[in-house]
């Protein structure tokens, strides 16, 4: 198949050989699980269990709130010991509402209902079941999958993302090698849910075994496996669309606008499990790797497992890690507290050595424009950063800040080590905060106006009531006077 060119991108050292040949192993059952209510983009889920309740594996413990949200299920059987805050797998290290589950060691499933003929289900039914299973995009963006299916119905092309362009990570590689048949069924289910005409699976050429396994599994189906060149960020939604279809997602738009839907291959596996077996999303494949890890590996970890358990499973450190990262090294989140739980979007746990992070002091920008050549979106990172540094966010937006996908290619190539993508993340956060305060101001203005109106109405009503009383009093007085006059007249 003809592939289209992609501008920019970088070629970081893959480091995938550390864990690529390690089969997926299930992590031993942890004693305590910390299941955050917010593991997805959108509104946090609301707990439907209480402290002291006994839950079975797969039982709903928190329901989705509103349209953009995802349900959360018990990862194993046991007792709910706390509903409260626990440190979030997030660079802020802030606490998030979390359900603490103490495992009873039995790992007993609740009653689950699968489907013998999943490919005969109606599109709406598939989306509803995906939603009920709490499935979110497992590539890292964690967007609720059911919503994505519902807004993408009738797309031309379904692209399954097996790019896995982040260095170190091998979780998608392993799942494609070991569970290709299930993934293909999941892909066909997603395709049925959105009525896609064309189904492509894009896999980078550094994963030949995965390509072979997927091709074998896709034999005789409408699914077409495509080999793509290895390059970062090939696994980014907009970039994979560009390479496979030649179409570009419009600025501020969604892939559905150009008739494309992109899902991760691991999400397809979760969809298959949810529909054929009725199993909600309660575990995921995580790569544990990095120079500081003794035995890099791929594990199937329950959602809520503390990261420390994964590191212990990988035989701990060979030397103290100078940075811990959740996700890939390019776009992942730094963390320090190893008590943070694995969540639905955690693709990797990396313990990196000083030599691997290459941290150095930033020096002045010499306008070499290396970042411009690296940007896969075609932006001018150096110019945008200069505007943001001078507190001119509007200028940065005019240069296309909102189209930045935060892939970090610019920071990676910058010879002056300027933290370019950090500038962009800051600016996007600041703009969002400004937007929020503007919305709040509009809302409070309405409240202030309503109050003034109410005060005026009360005044008016008071005055009217006083006027009515006065009129009544006067009428009474007049009547009394008239009666007195009449009485006097009669007396005369």
């Amino acid at each position: 198949m003809k592939l289209f060119d992609l501008k920019g991108g970088v070629h970081p050292e893959g480091k995938k050989n550390l864990s690529a040949e390690r089969r997926i192993r299930a992590l031993p059952l942890p004693k305590k699980l910390y299941v955050p209510m917010q593991q997805h983009i959108g509104a946090p889920a609301a707990p439907v269990v209480n402290v002291g309740d006994h839950v079975f594996k797969g039982q709903l413990i928190a329901s989705a709130q509103g349209n953009v949200s995802a349900a959360v299920h018990a990862p194993t059987s046991g007792a709910i010991t706390a509903l409260g805050d626990h440190v979030a797998p997030h660079p802020s290290g802030l606490p998030v509402p979390t359900i603490t589950l103490e495992s009873d060691g039995k790992d007993e499933w609740c009653a689950i209902q699968g489907c013998e003929q999943p490919l005969e289900l109606a599109a709406e039914e598939i989306a509803a079941r995906v939603g009920a299973a709490g499935i979110v995009g497992l590539g890292g963006a964690t967007f609720p999958s059911a919503l994505k299916l519902n807004v993408s119905r009738g797309v031309q092309t379904l692209i399954m993302n097996g790019g896995e362009c982040e260095p170190y990570l091998t979780c998608d590689d392993r799942i494609m090698r070991e569970r290709a048949v299930e993934i293909v069924e999941g892909i066909l289910l997603i395709a049925r849910a959105v009525d896609a005409k064309k189904i492509l699976v894009g896999i980078e050429d550094n994963k030949p075994e995965a390509i072979e396994a997927m091709q074998a599994a896709a034999q005789g189906t409408a699914v077409k496996v495509v080999t793509m060149p290895s390059m970062y960020p090939m696994g980014s939604e907009k970039q994979i669309i560009q390479v496979l279809t030649g179409l570009e997602v419009p600025a501020g738009g969604r892939p559905a606008d150009i008739g494309v839907l992109v899902h991760n291959v691991a999400t397809a596996f979760a969809v298959q499990q949810a529909i054929r077996y009725g199993k909600p999303l309660i575990s995921r494949i995580v790569t544990v790797s990095g120079g500081a890890i003794k035995t890099a590996c791929n594990v199937e970890a329950l959602v809520g497992t503390p990261v420390q358990e994964l590191i212990d499973f990988a035989d701990g450190y060979v030397q103290p890690a100078s940075r811990l990262v959740l996700g890939g090294p390019m776009m992942g989140q730094q963390f320090t507290n190893t008590n943070v739980p694995v969540v639905k979007g955690s693709s990797g746990v990396l313990a990196l050595m000083t030599t691997e992070i290459g941290q150095s002091e930033a020096s002045p920008c010499i306008r070499c424009s290396t970042c411009v050549r690296a940007c896969p979106v075609g932006l001018l990172p150096l110019e945008m950063a200069a505007h943001i540094r001078a507190a001119d966010l509007t200028g940065a937006v005019a240069l296309g800040l909102k189209d930045c996908i935060a892939c970090g290619s610019c920071s990676y190539v910058c010879p002056a080590h300027i933290p370019l993508v950090h500038f962009f993340n800051y600016a996007k956060g600041d703009l969002a905060a400004q937007e929020r305060s503007k919305l709040k101001q509009e809302a409070t203005k309405k409240l202030a106006d309503a109050r003034l109106e109410r005060i005026a109405r009360i005044e008016r009503e008071r005055a009217e009531a006083a006027a009515r009383r006065k009129a009544a009093r006067e009428a009474k007085e007049r009547a009394a006077k008239e009666a007195a006059a009449k009485a006097a007249e009669e007396a005369v």
Partner: protein
């Protein structure tokens, strides 16, 4: 020749004068539209912290050029920038002490339920009743500070809005002097 010039200029002057007179009558602008536009930007809580009688007064002063764009404490830096853009002036933000967004908070231990704060709140952001502890609706509070002034027990204070996962974002990178 001379008369022709005088006549034509006189006619021209009269005609244009009439035109202007008619235009002035029929195309008259009521008040300064800029004042209304500026008032739209202001919080509208009429808190009076700027020293003007309410937001309309402040808008009038801004339109006349008598007030700095940084006059509104509840609006913060974001409002100062919006006003500067509207008025086409450069905002001197160095003087703005942006403590970040704040909200009022009632210390429940010392609230006596006097109802003064909830009566004065310009955005109905305080809920309470006589002899009952009062509470603040975070979403409705503009941190105008009127409640702080009337509270007899100093139970109401302005506090920074707690950072949550939804509102947190990366701080601005600080580069060394070399960069």
């Amino acid at each position: 020749m001379l008369f022709a010039a005088i006549i034509s200029l006189t006619l021209l002057g009269t005609a244009l004068g009439l035109l202007l007179g008619v235009a002035a009558r029929y195309l008259k602008v009521e008040g300064n539209p800029l004042v209304a536009e500026i008032e739209q930007l202001l919080p509208g809580s009429q808190c009076g912290q700027c020293g003007y009688p309410g937001c309309t007064g402040a808008a009038q002063a801004l339109a006349d050029g008598g007030a700095a764009v940084t006059l509104c404490p509840p609006g913060g830096i974001a409002l100062a920038q919006a006003l500067a853009a509207k008025l086409g002036v450069d905002a001197d933000l160095s003087g703005v002490e942006d403590k970040g967004p704040m909200i009022a908070e009632v210390k429940e231990e010392i609230c006596i339920g006097c109802t003064r704060c909830f009566k004065i709140c310009p955005t109905d952001a305080i809920m309470g009743a006589a002899q009952q502890i009062h509470v603040v609706f975070r979403e409705a509070c503009t941190a105008c500070g009127k409640c702080v002034d009337v509270c007899p027990t100093e139970s109401v204070t302005l506090q920074p809005i707690p950072v949550t996962l939804q509102s947190w974002y990366w701080n601005k990178p600080i580069l060394g002097s070399a960069a």
